[in-house]
């Protein structure tokens, strides 16, 4: 039994001053993927942003090594006036990794590499956004609806990339509504829904 890469212990997360999830506890081990499910507004994005440390947990603890999480949001963070290669090379340099060819290959972007990101289709942009995850070199992927605007072939391409990442000892937490065809645990976040209560550290003067 290997130590988990990511472990949450009775975590609560707040959005807009309201605690919407509490008592979230789970562990993700190397080679494992966890699929988060739940209807719109159930708190999947908030939970992922908390895991990515973009916002503090209202309660509980999140244990993960420093700089171990790559976050993939709804927005791809692409610059329209930079080419595909320039966009990826920037993230690779920022995360201190080398070589973007494997990522271009995995998401079938090699033929598009000199095209400006602004001239890509929505699905191609999404693939470029996902290819960014591969150049971060980080073990835990926290992904928010990664398959939006992808066609069936691209979804399969993404599933293969996740499988390769898991086979390399990585882990993934993915919020999605579709079946990715991955061997993964699923976790329904509605079971953690908090009874509506204001967060303690929220200053009501701002309301």
């Amino acid at each position: 039994m290997t130590a988990p890469l990511l472990s949450l212990t009775s975590v609560g997360c707040a959005r807009g001053g309201l605690i919407i999830l509490d008592n979230v506890s789970f562990e993700v081990s190397p080679g494992e993927a966890l699929i988060l499910r739940g209807p719109n507004g159930s708190g999947k994005t908030t939970l992922l942003r908390t895991i990515a440390r973009l916002q503090p947990a209202a309660q509980g603890t999140i244990e993960a090594a420093d700089d171990s999480i790559a976050y993939g949001a709804h927005a791809d963070g692409l610059k329209a006036t930079l080419t595909v290669t320039e966009n990826l090379t920037f993230w690779a340099a920022l995360f201190g990794t080398r070589g973007i060819d494997a990522a271009l290959e995995a998401f079938d972007l090699t033929a598009l590499k000199d095209r400006r990101a602004g001239a890509l289709s929505a699905g191609q942009k999404r693939r470029l956004g996902l290819a960014r995850l591969m150049v971060t070199g980080r073990p835990i992927w926290a992904l928010d609806e990664p398959t939006v605007s992808l066609d069936a072939a691209s979804v399969a391409m993404f599933a293969r990339a996740v499988e390769a990442h898991l086979a390399g000892g990585g882990a993934a937490v993915i919020a999605t509504h579709i079946d990715l065809g991955l061997k993964a645990r699923t976790l329904d976040v509605t079971q953690f829904k908090a009874s509506t209560s204001a967060s303690k550290d929220f200053d009501e003067a701002f309301l």
Partner: protein
């Protein structure tokens, strides 16, 4: 820090990046002043230090809201915040990129435009020096204001109101240094004060701006 800086510079010079906006605005203001004020050379020489500094300052203000707003809208700011780079370094890189695309060109253009305002020749060196050491403070203060207002739609107005009072000390001492130089007086004190303000902002504001960004990303 270098990848972020080179990316921002590359974005600035590509289409729609806004490079040249500050410079063009500065040029327009300085060219229009003699038409508005009249051609008396003594009057122009007397107002030249203040007009040059105010023009540079307003030109700087024009592009401030783009420092973080564009990255916020396309989602890269979230990704930058989760990158191994500390947010304080992100602020430095952003402020430096802003200075290289606005403050530095303004500094280099100022002596050329000063001719139009009949600034005495002995003040040219002080004009370039005071702008060179004063404009980094304008970029850093601007990055702080931009970090405070990043989540706001049309935050430009609030940003200007927040940042303009903070620009006043730099303006006073910068313009005073040039005025003293044009009258043949010693300029050491105002130049040192401008340098002091710049060093102070560079030391303190990245931390304040990073804290503001963290709050706004929640």
């Amino acid at each position: 820090m270098t990848p972020l800086l080179t990316r921002d510079l590359r974005l600035a010079i590509r289409a729609g990046g806004g490079f040249g906006l500050a410079l063009a605005f500065f040029l327009i203001v300085i060219v229009l002043v003699p038409f508005g004020v009249g051609p008396e050379r003594e009057v122009l020489a007397r107002i030249a230090p203040g007009v040059l500094w105010i023009g540079a300052l307003l030109a700087c203000l024009l592009s401030l809201d783009r420092i973080f707003a564009v990255d916020f809208e396309d989602g890269s700011l979230d990704l930058l915040a989760t990158a191994p780079l500390p947010l304080e370094t992100v602020i430095y890189a952003k402020a430096l990129a802003h200075w290289l695309t606005t403050g530095l060109p303004l500094t280099l253009a100022a002596p050329v435009l000063a001719v139009l305002l009949n600034l005495p020749v002995q003040a040219f060196a002080t004009l370039v020096l005071s702008l060179a050491i004063g404009t980094p403070a304008l970029s850093m203060l601007g990055a702080f204001g931009a970090a405070l207002t990043v989540g706001l739609k049309r935050g430009g107005l609030l940003l200007s109101l927040l940042v303009l009072p903070l620009y006043v000390p730099t303006l006073i001492f910068g313009a005073d240094a040039v005025r003293r130089a044009s009258e043949g007086l010693a300029t050491t004190t105002p130049v040192l004060l401008v340098a002091l303000i710049t060093l102070g902002t560079l030391a303190v504001l990245p931390f304040a701006a990073a804290a503001a960004l963290r709050m706004n990303l929640r």
